[in-house]
């Protein structure tokens, strides 16, 4: 099927451009009887929205979700759930520069190459604005996961530029620790340095990259399929489907390149309740692509914002050399607002595999 849907059984389909009237998603496959209201969606939308702090873009979009279907008397009915989020201030402005020039790092050129045309009012379909409805769908997935198994999904920033956080127990990080600062880094000392760096970069009309981590706890063992739809594969796709992600790793990740088998293998043991577990979690909660019951740990490399308020060399749509500088306010660092997006895609993927496991094996 075409590329605006994600998931096999918990399935999210989206539509919407940055400057159209609205973004909308349809969530299909949600079990009936889950309590759900618009209030369940607003916290994560508030974490994603622009204008939430001094280090994000100052555009202000309140992002009120409207549930159009699939919920009756406060609970899901089992039928498809449509959620609509109107775009504010999407009126036509002068987009001349974007219309006729290719912004470095953006999808302007590749859209033209693909479709022969594009909506040049902002990022169009490739704008991060499309992630609003993903975050809303993720909130639905989080409710389902939490009710079924107490699954918790917490994301946080571990690196901005050369500032690295020290997070000895990522599986113990709480939402409160993450939300305690505007950069969403649970190492409060590192967080201050990250904020300083982001402000410095902005003052220099530049942007900066970083690394985000997502941890899912209480995931039951057995989720994921052995071959193509390994849980790591579907989580990898989920995270790579987000804008600006240049790398994804789990467990040891790229550090495994220098490890020996004796250093890397996690040894099996049993916990106090007699349940099989491992003494360490270098495998990031997945073995053979199937969840092991240990915390799932994922990391994403995020590139610096491509939009820069300074002249960059480029070409016009006709191929003539020119320069372009971004008008308007943009996030100098994408990491803080990336966190709820990454949590949402993780939640959607886990919800999907939980339903798949119910279908085939009935033990989730």
């Amino acid at each position: 099927m075409p590329g605006n849907s994600f998931g096999q059984l918990f399935r999210v389909t989206t539509a919407g451009e940055s400057h159209g009237p609205a973004n909308v998603c349809i969530i299909d496959g949600v079990p009936p009887g889950i309590e759900l209201s618009e209030d369940d969606l607003t916290p994560d939308l508030a974490r994603r929205r622009p204008g939430q702090s001094k280090i994000t873009t100052q555009r202000d979009e309140p992002d009120h979700p409207q549930i159009l279907s699939g919920v009756f008397e406060g609970k899901t009915t089992g039928t498809s759930i449509a959620i609509l989020i109107e775009n504010q201030d999407q009126r036509s402005r002068d987009y001349g520069d974007i219309q006729h020039k290719y912004r470095p790092g953006h999808a302007d050129y590749t859209f033209d190459a693909k479709y022969g045309r594009r909506d040049y009012r902002g990022g169009g379909r490739s704008s991060a604005r499309e992630t609003t409805v993903r975050v809303a769908a993720g909130a639905v997935a989080k409710k389902l996961l939490s009710q079924a198994h107490g699954i918790q999904i917490v994301g946080f920033v571990t690196q901005v530029g050369d500032v690295h956080a020290d997070i000895p127990h990522p599986e113990k990080v709480t939402l409160a620790e993450v939300e305690a600062n505007i950069v969403r880094c649970p190492d409060q000392g590192a967080a201050m340095k990250m904020i300083d760096l982001i402000e410095k970069v902005r003052s220099e009309r530049d942007s900066i990259g970083g690394v985000a981590q997502v941890v899912a706890t209480n995931v039951p063992p057995g989720l994921g399929e052995p071959v193509f739809d390994k849980l790591k594969a579907d989580l990898g796709k989920a995270l790579f489907s987000l804008p600006a992600v240049l790398g994804v790793e789990y467990g040891c990740g790229f550090a495994v390149g220098t490890l020996r088998g004796t250093e890397n293998n996690d040894l099996f043991t049993t916990d106090d309740a007699g349940k099989v577990t491992t003494t360490t979690n270098r495998h990031g909660g997945m073995l053979g692509g199937i969840s092991s019951g240990l915390p799932i740990t994922l990391r994403c490399a995020i590139k610096p914002t491509s939009s820069l308020p300074q002249d960059q060399q480029t070409v016009t749509t006709k191929g003539e050399p020119t320069t372009i500088a971004t008008q308007g306010r943009h996030d100098p660092c994408l990491l803080p607002r990336f966190i709820p997006m990454a949590e949402a895609m993780t939640a959607i993927t886990l919800a999907d595999h939980m339903l798949r496991q119910r279908a085939q094996c009935r033990n989730a």
Copy 2:
């Protein structure tokens, strides 16, 4: 749909265990009229097969593919292509240890958690043996891509343990350079060190991890979809679906965490033919999830082989402490044989997106 299929339009479905009679794949959606014979499949199967060199496992499986359908008078008919590869020597042996103990790093425990039972003769469905038919399907995809656009896909090893190759122009690496040594590293000096390291590790009854790179050249701009099915997302899933992959990155990858926008953005220009291109390729050939026409560059982190010929602590299927040591011969380093698998999954993904682009936009 269940997890034994990959791709939307160039679609590969597989079946088979390590110790059953055969592995089989069905490839659906192949355009008619492509010249194809079993000889097209054997070179990559030979690169994947065990026993090919002193640094791989010494088991010897010839892996003769049989095309059962979809090819007539030497060309594809457009109907589904079944390829069967018999397993040699799959007779029942004594698998007592694997049957009753969980091997560290393997999927034994997670299979039991998922399905309540497993084929304990070797890795069963999670054995790397299932990749034979993926490699065969990848060879079909390579033919299609090559005929349509001259697309070439070349994989190679860039790191084994702490030995790093120096490959200044990954987009220029040739298959011949890769196949010039048994570790499949085009930096011939580094290759020698890698081979020495692998032999040392094996003599110490251990294994070692590393990093592989895949480069696809001549990919036309416009492949990939803007939201969930970004080309990077589907390639990410494709590579994560292979055994032992703990991380995937493209372009700058995780190194982007320390970069500024001014350092990371690739600037647009035109080439001699007037075609839009970029002066550098930190974006790894994909912008907004859509191919840019620049070489696509991907890297995978590969863990050290989990099977070790020395005692490792573990538990029995009943949760009692025990130890297990792998019997039989295993690759001390998975990297050399991983290369054709990674190329195959890259080819399948690109072929799929090429057909998708033909469906919607007719310009591929």
Copy 3:
């Protein structure tokens, strides 16, 4: 994937209940550059809407479609198209009877059996109201088909109760002939009798069934796949997915049961342009599940409206015997409003297979 999507490449996903705020569809896979505005959607929506004539329900819902995405400067962009149609007058009334009793012929009981709960304000998700957005999506498909190959899709009523129309050349029926009367039967004499019968049935607080036909002309040969996704199979599913359809046939249909091979086979010949064709069209434009270039002829059996304004025996949701009589105004015959729905599903199916043919064979 769950059941609220249809089509592989031209893919329609819908949401919405009869008494929620709106119905919405997302159409994915539409080629870029197709001229499209809300005016393209309104004619078929007007043909589907209630209150259009004296023989349909008198509820009045204007059904104004809003295109929320995927169209820019009057043309499709290639990104997903969301269309929203608000429900008028969906305010909460007293639905006590429907809430606590199972209406004969309706999905009330089966919804409860499936989901354990249901939206009892009208038909909820199983209301024919959900077909509004299908009709809108069908209008998009019709534009695509018309531009690509001049494909025309015309539906009409051939039977109401025991009144049978005489339509010697179904492939020549025009939209104007269909719309010349309120029952949508191109045999104007039969149409008058049908209208009289429907009015008689209504006056007797009853309803009546019938048969509808859909004809698609100018369909190029080669659409459809040889095995599971035969064109007849996907068209069959498309039509059976509409409410009240109890049977689907094409070509000779059930009449073939008494025919011999010598009577039924259509003989091949060539037309004036030298193109292969058949001398007759008992095969309904599909051979081996693939379009032959001849007109595609389909017929659907439509049951009488289940809602009746007279007491019918039933049980409460607790299983106690009771009676129920439908409140409000309902169509005494579903056929006239079924026509645009059937055309829409036919168009969506053909558009999907046209794109599939482009993907694999590039000759559509």
Copy 4:
């Protein structure tokens, strides 16, 4: 995805031509722990195979299925199950006539129009030979359905030419009654007339059409989805995907065209156990596209065999007028061998929806 797969969760993918080395299917999504051996597949394959009686084709193909994967120690493992059935006697003969002429009623022309080429050795991919592996997959589905809910699926012939069977209680027909005669009609008197008619038609070098019925009993209420994937829609597609099917109906079917609502509605009541049911079953076991718990009753119109051992007018592949007479022996009536195919597709569809119901609602 391409057209050689069927089902979302119980998913069957097939490959194979009539004159290639083998037909193969991969069944994905089968729950683990189901007892399964090749002996479970052979009874239905014997019912489907040619040469089983004097009224079927006299070709003799034993159709021994080989299970290549997914079964271990006599039970399914949950991984994909590959089943291979070799073609006997597929050696190259002289196919000159079929190669250069279009057989009336066959897919020769439409294949050429679609793919630009075809395997002209017999029917290639459009041969009924491809249904061997569907029947094998159907036998797996039947086991699953029988174990889970005691679901039974029985098909039989109700009409051959103008001979109509009298079957007052289709839901009570047993397999033994069906297999009591070679035409598979449980009305033994009508069966004799049907056999006589078929022999007469064959002696006249002609063929004859008919109607088949399939009944599924003990289907729990709640299977099927409310909109596109109505159970009737997926069953309709399943049956239309079989060769020679020109019409499908359920419940009252086309007879509903003359019925009034008061005549057609089935009234709700409760059975002795207090379970909701209906007093009659004109709705064929499905309301709103969802199973009601009543027997599911389906009927298919089957065309007369297109291959005739007498000259028929046609054209060559170059469009020149010619005649063609079928060589070799063909079934003069497709009905008897159609029965196991129809049962198989019904079983696959119900198994798929049972797993879907487990995924979302956990009550199947």
